[in-house]
Symmetry: C2
Subunit: 389 residues, 2 copies
Amino acid sequence: MPFLNDLSARALAAPESGIVELVNHARTRDNLLPLWVGEGDLPTPDFISKAASDALLGGETFYTWQRGVPELRQALANYYSRHFAVDLPADHFYATGSGMQAIVLCVQALTSPGDEMVYLSPTWPNIVSAIEIAGTKAVGLPLTFADGRWSLDFDRLEAMITPKTKALFINTPSNPTGWTATKEDLKKVLEVARRHGIWILADEIYALYYYGEGARAPSFLDVMEEGDRVLFANSFSKNWSMTGWRVGWIVAPPEIGHVLENLIQYSTSGVAAFMQRGAIAALDQGDGFVAENIARATQARDILCDRLIATNRVETLKPEGALYAFLKIDGITDSRKAAFDIVDQTGVGLAPGTAFGAGGEAFLRACFLRNARQIEEAADRLSRYILAL
Amino acid sequence: MPFLNDLSARALAAPESGIVELVNHARTRDNLLPLWVGEGDLPTPDFISKAASDALLGGETFYTWQRGVPELRQALANYYSRHFAVDLPADHFYATGSGMQAIVLCVQALTSPGDEMVYLSPTWPNIVSAIEIAGTKAVGLPLTFADGRWSLDFDRLEAMITPKTKALFINTPSNPTGWTATKEDLKKVLEVARRHGIWILADEIYALYYYGEGARAPSFLDVMEEGDRVLFANSFSKNWSMTGWRVGWIVAPPEIGHVLENLIQYSTSGVAAFMQRGAIAALDQGDGFVAENIARATQARDILCDRLIATNRVETLKPEGALYAFLKIDGITDSRKAAFDIVDQTGVGLAPGTAFGAGGEAFLRACFLRNARQIEEAADRLSRYILAL
């Protein structure tokens, strides 16, 4: 492998996704129920695709605004006004080529090689790799799992911070655990960040997929004050069934706008204008579709979790937010081995917890954003498998 | 500026594009002839947009292959077979979210923070910033300008290489200079790379815009041998009038495919499948359109360059390749100041050579991929301006 040995350490260190490995193993299996990736079963609704298609066929195929077209930035401002009751003018919003890229650009904006960034594990594996590829050290703090629920130990969080720590990555509601910070939790995190003069990079992409009191999960936007250093990375993927589009956004103070514009310029140089027209339709006309998606997720969560908990072999309670049951099943300790066995035996594709870092090794993740019939079938097959363990 | 001071050194160091500054100054001017960015005046042809639109409306909106859909990779293989007479199987090709991203991912694959990468200047400014944001040191070697032509001093090139040098970035035909390496030049560069065990990152996106003998510019593909370490970054932007799409590709040895797949996963996680359908149409059905684009560029180059050289105040000869006249005009030494003055006085938007780094300070770049009428008008206005200097 002469070529391979010659690549950079950071590239060689980036691991294959532990989910992709399993998907490649079984993607062509008959009768597959694919709950392994964070994606629903509906294509993008027509009113969104039509808006993008019209713009594309109408010739919106030239270079465009690096920060996003003005109408998209205004539509984002309106969306935050409706759903988060905040008055953020359009100059707080920046279009990116996926939520993933929003995170990468924020990591670049906040850290230089050799700096540290703290995150909570188990976590979406792409976070750690995005940080490390940027040359920054990713420092993980495991959440605590007890009585079927996850929680954050704030003293341990504060103890992770060193003079090299530049930012804290917080994903709430969390993929894969479903952990959802309360308003009090967010205040405490903010206090830690203030005390140490570090940034928060907030990933609240599942904010509307919330199963507690109120219309959405608590947000840093509810507790922030003037001068607090918080960037938000977000995505059109989950709310509007646009996973394949690769469009996201950043919320940031306008003072740093030209820096974000430069980082966009020097990474992918903007998002296709015609894609942005689809994103505007999603924001301006998509509240009804999002409500339907949330209703489907709520129903599917109840079906899947109630059935599996009824086996009396599953420790995890129902998640408070996001789209995943992160299952601790009695008798399973090696989730990678179990995920291969489960898909081979039952045809249900689950993501192994090993893919999500420290604390997740014994868990299996099921994405439940699918139609009730398939979720019932998955619950049946998994229940039988679990009871036979 | 409390937020701004708190950002990373690498983000703060990334400069605003020296072209964007001028565009923002004059984009709304009446009677503007915008030759300042590297973009033609035609929208994407319908057969390409239609293919993408059909896939989008047909529901190809889910996560897809990180390396690119198999049909796109095969279409790229066929394209290289037709235009470069090489037999590279489909597993040599990787779809990326722009040519810019292709370069960024290659920089990450080849270098770690603290390493060095050598490039030739004047150059497209995004190159230097992409390298530096990755934490790698960009080391520029100015090309030599004499008798109206640019050339590369191979001894000086070899002298730039240190133990920290991991790769050499070579853009030929070159933006902005039009410098086009001969086959002999490419062999010499390859020998330097072999001697020092370093990679070449080749940007040959203008290969088909070539005004010398033969159907295209010489390529590293013509002179490479088994085991040579060369990556190619490319883009759909210029050949198929798809600048706004943000789709590109990498050509690489299949042995490093999983590493590139990981870097794609952890940057933007792939290119929309429906965009890839457009790219496939471009490759499979686009040779005629590309030939038309080349014919337009050839005609426009003659009109613009002949007229300006006829003033006897322009030192630069006609470019051998790419889409730019990089003009050295008697009496102009500060190109930034001149670019503002020219657009204010004549309405012709030119990119100041200051934007392209060492060696370009006195030059002005004109992109000539436009219809003949506009190019004639630009030549008229510029000739009058030059003769009045």
